[in-house]
């Protein structure tokens, strides 16, 4: 499991023990118990926000809006509905959580269309609109809000006072447990890839937008749940209490504790919740102190307090890889070539070109990077795309894999027009791609990187992840086994447990190739695979590429290493200033006057 999350899971029992200890100590002091209860409530919302911020890199300054939805749903439901309390309360909570989740979906859907800071402003707008609606709705009590909200009731049992502490923390514990399960499963792995390198995740077929929206919905739902419990214990809901200051407080909590982890959220919530005991006379100084603390944390300890603790703990050597499949015997691996699991059956039906590019043009302002390029690849061939620097080769790759938009032209993959498609959709067709600068997921191990490659083939659901059902665990194990097999075939096994960012340069490229291959593509775009490799590594690369080709994969290579290109390509295309100037067998191209001129200039 991802090292970061392993630490997170280990920290939880410790935190649980602290909560229990504090609870016992608070039995004699109602103020402490109350503060602890609010800490639990904040924690529930903070966990959601922590996941959102830490795992998909999105700031939300509108969580109070979801909180308010949950709070008002419970307040309204339990005071206005004519059902018996035992039914009204759970129903109202359900209403609150579901509404908040749906709102989260909507906000995510809208906000994610924008870049960075516009997104933050959109979340702010959402929070404000919620407050505005609460403030102006007569049925929600307008500026005065709703009062006399009853305590939660289960049959004859009313939860109030001291037991509220245990109830709130029980809910928080369930949320923490579910969230950790989510992070350990397929969803968590997807989040981690998005967090590390969104583009690389997209070209592996991971629908990044979908997961980001999911994160919003989850964060919204949890905030709604927190709000629901808040209303039940405080007894009053007013618009001002669920406005921007609360959103800021939640944000501060998560940053302080450490975004991205469940433990961090708990730590942050506990600290702020407990400090709140100091009462109102120091409110101003307290808030100023929070602000200063957040700035200090952001500068000096971006991982929050949890991150700091982890760094201190890292003084000990890294524990050995303890994945479930580790002790199982490896299949007889053997050959050094990259053999596919099965020969290519899917993909291009015979007779249809795996890739057909028609009149593709890409302009950047006055610059024409790719100029009306057209070609079609034949199935199961290895073609190289060469050309002087700045010729537009990578731009062409980007166009084919759906990164950025075309200024003109069409791209067809196995007969399907994919012009304008999102990268993950194109990847899902069976297209793989590597990048010029080996975009690995730095904070994941080599094994986890390669697992990400076969992401599309994992079959499990969000719910199964959440509850850590056997089906989810099985899907994880299978993914691990598949990844190990790929590593074995490429002789990368010894590196399985190494963090990608610690890899030597030559290994990075090989791991990226392994990851692309793990997705089982039938069309593979490889961008400068030989750059930075020594002679031995290049020989291995050559063998691997040819083996892929022999298995039926259609390969398109950008490469500068002429010796490699000339020896393995069946066809060479030459691009100069965005225009195709030669296209044919290697020897033919090498002696083409135009090509020589392109590389060496005229006047020889």
């Amino acid at each position: 499991m991802i090292a970061r999350l392993r630490a997170d899971a280990r920290a939880l029992p410790v935190l649980a023990a602290l909560v229990v200890a504090f609870g016992i100590a608070a039995a004699w002091n109602p103020t402490f118990a109350q503060a602890g209860t609010y800490a639990a409530i904040y924690a529930i919302a903070a966990i959601g926000l922590s996941l959102l911020m830490g795992n998909v890199n999105q700031i939300s300054i509108g969580q109070a809006g979801f909180f308010g939805i949950g709070a008002y749903a419970v307040a309204y439901g339990t005071t206005s509905w004519t059902l018996p309390q035992a039914a009204a309360w759970p129903l109202a909570v359900l209403l609150g959580v579901v509404s908040a989740a749906l709102a989260g979906l909507a906000v995510g859907f809208i906000a994610l269309r924008f870049r960075g800071h516009y997104l933050a402003v959109a979340t702010l707008a959402f929070g404000l609109i919620c407050v505005g609606v609460f403030h102006e709705s007569a049925i929600l009590g307008g500026a005065i809000g709703i009062q006399d909200v009853p305590y939660p009731q289960f049959g004859a049992l009313t939860i109030s006072g001291y037991p509220a502490y245990w109830f709130a923390w029980a809910v928080a514990a369930l949320v923490a447990f579910a969230s950790i399960n989510l992070l350990r499963g397929r969803t968590g792995r997807a989040f981690e890839t998005i967090r590390n390198d969104e583009l690389a995740a997209e070209v592996l077929g991971i629908p990044t937008r979908r997961f980001k929206i999911l994160a919003f919905a989850y964060a919204g739902a949890l905030a709604g749940l927190a709000g629901a419990i808040y209303a039940s214990f405080l007894g009053i809901v007013v618009p001002d209490a669920v406005s921007v200051p609360l959103s800021i407080t939640l944000l501060l909590m998560v940053v302080l504790g450490g975004s991205g982890s469940v433990s961090g959220a708990l730590i942050g919530a506990a600290i702020l919740g407990v400090i709140d005991i100091s009462g109102h006379q120091f409110e101003n100084s307290r808030e100023v102190a929070y602000g200063v603390l957040v700035i200090v944390v952001v500068i000096a300890a971006p991982g929050g307090l949890f991150g700091l603790l982890r760094n201190l703990a890292k003084a000990r050597p890294r524990p050995p890889l303890d994945e479930p499949g580790a002790t199982r015997a490896m299949p007889a691996a053997a050959t050094r070539v990259v053999a596919r699991a099965a020969p290519v059956e899917s993909g291009a039906p015979a007779g249809v070109a795996p890739l057909a590019v028609e009149g593709v043009t890409k302009r950047f302002g006055g610059l024409v990077a790719v100029n009306r390029v057209s070609f079609a690849l034949e199935r199961g061939t290895l073609t190289s795309l060469i050309g002087p620097n700045g010729a537009g080769k990578t731009t062409l790759f980007n166009a084919i894999s759906g990164v950025g938009t075309l200024s003109d032209g069409r791209i067809a993959i196995a007969g399907t027009d994919v012009t304008g498609w999102q990268p993950h959709r194109i990847a899902a067709l069976g297209v793989g791609r590597t990048f010029q600068n080996a975009r690995l997921f730095g904070e994941m191990t080599v094994l986890e990187n390669v697992m990400a490659g076969s992401f599309r083939r994992e079959r499990t659901s969000f719910g199964a992840d959440l509850l850590a059902l056997p089906s989810a665990r099985r899907a994880s194990r299978e993914a691990i086994d598949r990844a190990r097999a790929t590593l074995a075939r490429l002789e990368l096994e010894p590196l399985a447990g190494t963090l990608a960012r610690d890899l030597a340069f030559g290994d990075r490229r090989r791991v990226e190739l392994a990851r692309a291959v793990a997705a089982d593509p039938w069309l593979l775009l490889v961008d400068e695979p030989a750059a930075g490799l020594n002679a031995n590594e290049r020989a291995t690369l050559q063998r691997d590429l040819l083996a892929l080709r022999d298995d039926g994969v259609t390969l398109l290579l950008i490469e500068h290493d002429m010796r490699l290109v000339m020896s393995i390509s069946e066809r060479v295309m030459v691009l100069k200033f965005g225009t195709m100037i030669a296209d044919g067998p290697p020897e033919h191209v090498r002696n083409d006057a135009a090509v020589v001129a392109a590389y060496l200039g005229t006047g020889a």
Binding site: N57, Y118, V298
Partner: protein, 294 residues
Amino acid sequence: MLQLLVAGLTVGSGYALVALGIHIVLRATRIINFAQGEFTIVGGLIALTFVQVLHVNTWIALAGATLVGFGLGLLFERLVLRPAARSGEMALTIATIGMVSILLYGHALVPGWGSLPQPLPAFSGDVSDAVAIGGASIQIQSLWVLALLLLALALLYVFFDRTYYGKAIRAAANNPAGARLIGIDVTNARSVSVGLAIALAAYGGTIIGPITLVGGAGGVVIAIKGFVAAIVGGLESPAGCVLGGLLVGVVEKLIQGLPGVSYGISDPIVYALLLLALLIRPQGLIGARSAVRD
């Protein structure tokens, strides 16, 4: 009607300046300064201190507050933004949110400032002085606000568009690598930009001071309306920001002036305007689509 228009333009001038400040910081640092509203409030309070402690008139207080604002901006960039930038863009944005907390609650702790809004003496005569134009009674102070807004815009335009150094700052924001390659110190350029943005905030907080008072907890709301203004008008365009600010101010006052409508409803409507703008035309009235969409 004219009265509402002028009132709208007056309060809109404040929003315009906030939006413009956000724009300048955005250009220089690539992030949104969520604390721009708070700096506006603090700016007005600084002017108040000039008036109360140094016994000068509001004009001198305006100049003083603007200068102090510039200095605050330099400090802000040096002590908060620059170190936080090393931790990434998200960290930087969070740092500005932390700054909101510090200023919002901290300003009340400064002796003489407190947490309630206070009046700033008028720029001329008395705050209630009014002149009759077209059948409506227009406050003289409103006219001053508009005039001062135009003055600020003119000065900024001249600086950024007609002076060598101003263009160098724009260049540094446009392409930091290119700027370094011809010898422009990008870090200094960034510092000056932030200094100007905060100076602008202080200026804005002061000119609306006589009418809308200085201090109080309104910083967050002003900041938000500044965003609305920037997004409606066009975050990436200075003209857009100003246009947006005036528009938002006018819309707000018009709504408030409608008979039978509760005063408080203008705010949610303005926020809904923000959402509408994001949905329909996120690049603003004056802006290019490519700057916004993913």
